[in-house]
C-alpha cells in the first residue's frame, strides 16, 4: 500500500508565536532538535521557521521576521509521494498536516528524504514498485488509461553464475540507464526486483508496444562489459480501455503488473521478446511480436 503522510509526520512539534524572539526559539531548538516550527498569530499559521532561518537570523528578531519557509497545508491521507512532489515543485520547506482545520503534524524535507530513501533501489538508483502504484493512482484519477510494460533480462541467472555477480550488477545498472534514457518523460520506471523492471505509461497499447520495442532494440544494440550479449523480454498489460477505470486503484495496478509479468515470462519462453497479455490471459488470448 502507498504510505500516507499520517504514518511518518512529526506529531510532537512546537508552535511558536509570531512575536517570540529568535533567541527564545533557538533555545527550544537546542533542547528538542526540531527541524522547523509553525509560526502562528491569533491562532492562524502565518509561516514556517526552519532551523536554517534560526541560524542566519539575528537573535533579537521576532519569528515573523526570521521565517522564510514556504509551506502548504495537506491532509493526513496525502500519499508521501504527493508530499514529495509538492516540496520539490513548489520549493516548499515544510508541509503542514491539517485535519478539520486543526494542525496535527509536520512534514519536512529531511523526513521525506529518509522515507523515500526506503523506496530507492541502491544499485540502480531507480524507485521501487511503490512509485508505480502512486503514479498509476494519479493517472487513473485524472481519467487516463494506463498500461504497464514489464521487462526482464534474458538468462540473467546464467550471467550471474558464469560471469559473477559483479558483472551481473554492472549489467543491471547499464540496463537501468538505457531504459531511463529511452523512455518518454511521462512514463514511470521502477526496478521491480532482481532483473525485473516495470514501466507505467499513460498510453494506449499501440504506443506502449512501440516504446517496448524501442527499449528492446536499445539494449540489444548496447555493448555491455566483457561484451556480454544482453537481451530483454517484455510483457505488456492494459492500455485498451477507453472508459474510465473505476474502483480501487491498488488491485487494478497489481492485476496489470501480474498480467504483464506473466506476458514477459511467456515472451521469454517463446523467444518472441515481446508479448501482450490481456485480462483473461490465462485463457490464451494473446498476441506475440518479435523485435
Amino acid at each position: 500500500m502507498i504510505r500516507q503522510v499520517s504514518e511518518i509526520m512529526i506529531k510532537n512539534f512546537t508552535i511558536v508565536n509570531a512575536l517570540q524572539s529568535v533567541e527564545y526559539i533557538r533555545n527550544i531548538y537546542a533542547e528538542k532538535e526540531v527541524e522547523c516550527f509553525p509560526v502562528t498569530e491569533e491562532g492562524k499559521i502565518i509561516g514556517i521557521l526552519t532551523s536554517k532561518d534560526l541560524m542566519k537570523s539575528h537573535f533579537n528578531r521576532i519569528a515573523a521576521d526570521a521565517m522564510s519557509g514556504k509551506f502548504q497545508c495537506i491532509s493526513p491521507s496525502t500519499p508521501v509521494w504527493k508530499a514529495h512532489e509538492l516540496l520539490n515543485e513548489e520549493g516548499m520547506d515544510a508541509l503542514i498536516v491539517q485535519e478539520n482545520h486543526e494542525l496535527v503534524g509536520l512534514i519536512t524535507k529531511g523526513l521525506l528524504k529518509a522515507e523515500l530513501g526506503k523506496h530507492i533501489d541502491l544499485l540502480t538508483d531507480l524507485y521501487k514498485s511503490d512509485y508505480i502504484y502512486y503514479h498509476a493512482a494519479e493517472l487513473m484519477e485524472a481519467g487516463h488509461e494506463i498500461s504497464i510494460i514489464f521487462i526482464d533480462i534474458n538468462n540473467f541467472g546464467s550471467i550471474n553464475k558464469e560471469l559473477g555477480h559483479i558483472v551481473g550488477d554492472k549489467i543491471l545498472k547499464e540496463v537501468a540507464l538505457i531504459l531511463q534514457k529511452n523512455l518518454p518523460q511521462e512514463t514511470f520506471l521502477c526496478r521491480f526486483g532482481g532483473d525485473e523492471f516495470a514501466i507505467l505509461t499513460p498510453y494506449y497499447i499501440h504506443e506502449c508496444k512501440m516504446i517496448a520495442e524501442k527499449l528492446l532494440k536499445a539494449v540489444k544494440a548496447h555493448s555491455f562489459p566483457d561484451n556480454v550479449p544482453v537481451s530483454l523480454s517484455a510483457g505488456i498489460a492494459g492500455g485498451r480501455r477507453h472508459n474510465h477505470r473505476s474502483g480501487d486503484t491498488f488491485p487494478t495496478v497489481s492485476n496489470l503488473l501480474n498480467i504483464a509479468s506473466i506476458a514477459s515470462t511467456k515472451a521469454k519462453k517463446e523467444l518472441s521478446n515481446l508479448f501482450v497479455g490481456e485480462t483473461g490471459f490465462a485463457d490464451g488470448i494473446a498476441q506475440t511480436y518479435s523485435s
Binding site: 509570531a18 542566519k56 537570523s57 539575528h58 537573535f59 533579537n60 528578531r61 521576532i62 515573523a64 521576521d65 526570521a66
Partner: protein, 116 residues
C-alpha cells in the same frame, strides 16, 4: 595595634535630558537583511508609534531588506524614483546588520510664466 581601613564607594550620576523625537524613525529607515529588527517588527513598531504615517516597502537589494518611508514623501514623489534614490545613496553606506535612519527634505521648485 589595630589598623583601620576605610572603604568608601561613590557614584557619580550624570543626566542628559532631551525631548523624545517623535516619530523616532524620522523620514526613512533602511533595514538591513540581518538587522536586529526586521521589517515585520518595524511595521508593528511604526504602526503603534505613528499609525498610518509610514509605509514599509520590501526591496530586492544585496544588503537592504526593506525601507520604511513616511507616506507624505510618497505623495510628493513617485515611489519608484524615491526608492531608487534611497537605495543608491543608502546602499553605499549600509551593511546587512544595520538599520539606518535618513532625513529627506523635498523642495519643489515651480516656475511658471503667464501672458500679460
Amino acid at each position: 595595634m589595630e589598623i583601620q581601613v576605610e572603604n568608601k564607594k561613590k557614584a557619580e550620576i550624570t543626566m542628559r535630558l532631551s525631548e523624545f523625537e517623535m516619530p523616532p524613525m524620522q523620514d526613512v529607515l533602511l533595514v538591513g537583511k540581518r538587522a536586529p529588527i526586521g521589517p515585520e517588527a518595524t511595521r508593528r513598531m511604526v504602526d503603534i508609534l505613528s499609525p498610518e504615517q509610514y509605509e514599509i516597502i520590501k526591496v530586492d537589494h544585496t544588503v537592504i531588506e526593506a525601507i520604511v518611508v513616511r507616506k507624505s514623501l510618497l505623495h510628493m514623489l513617485q515611489q519608484e524614483k524615491l526608492i531608487d534614490l534611497i537605495l543608491e545613496e543608502g546602499g553605499k553606506i549600509a551593511n546587512e546588520s544595520m538599520i539606518i535612519k535618513a532625513q529627506i527634505h523635498v523642495v519643489l521648485h515651480v516656475s511658471k510664466s503667464i501672458d500679460l
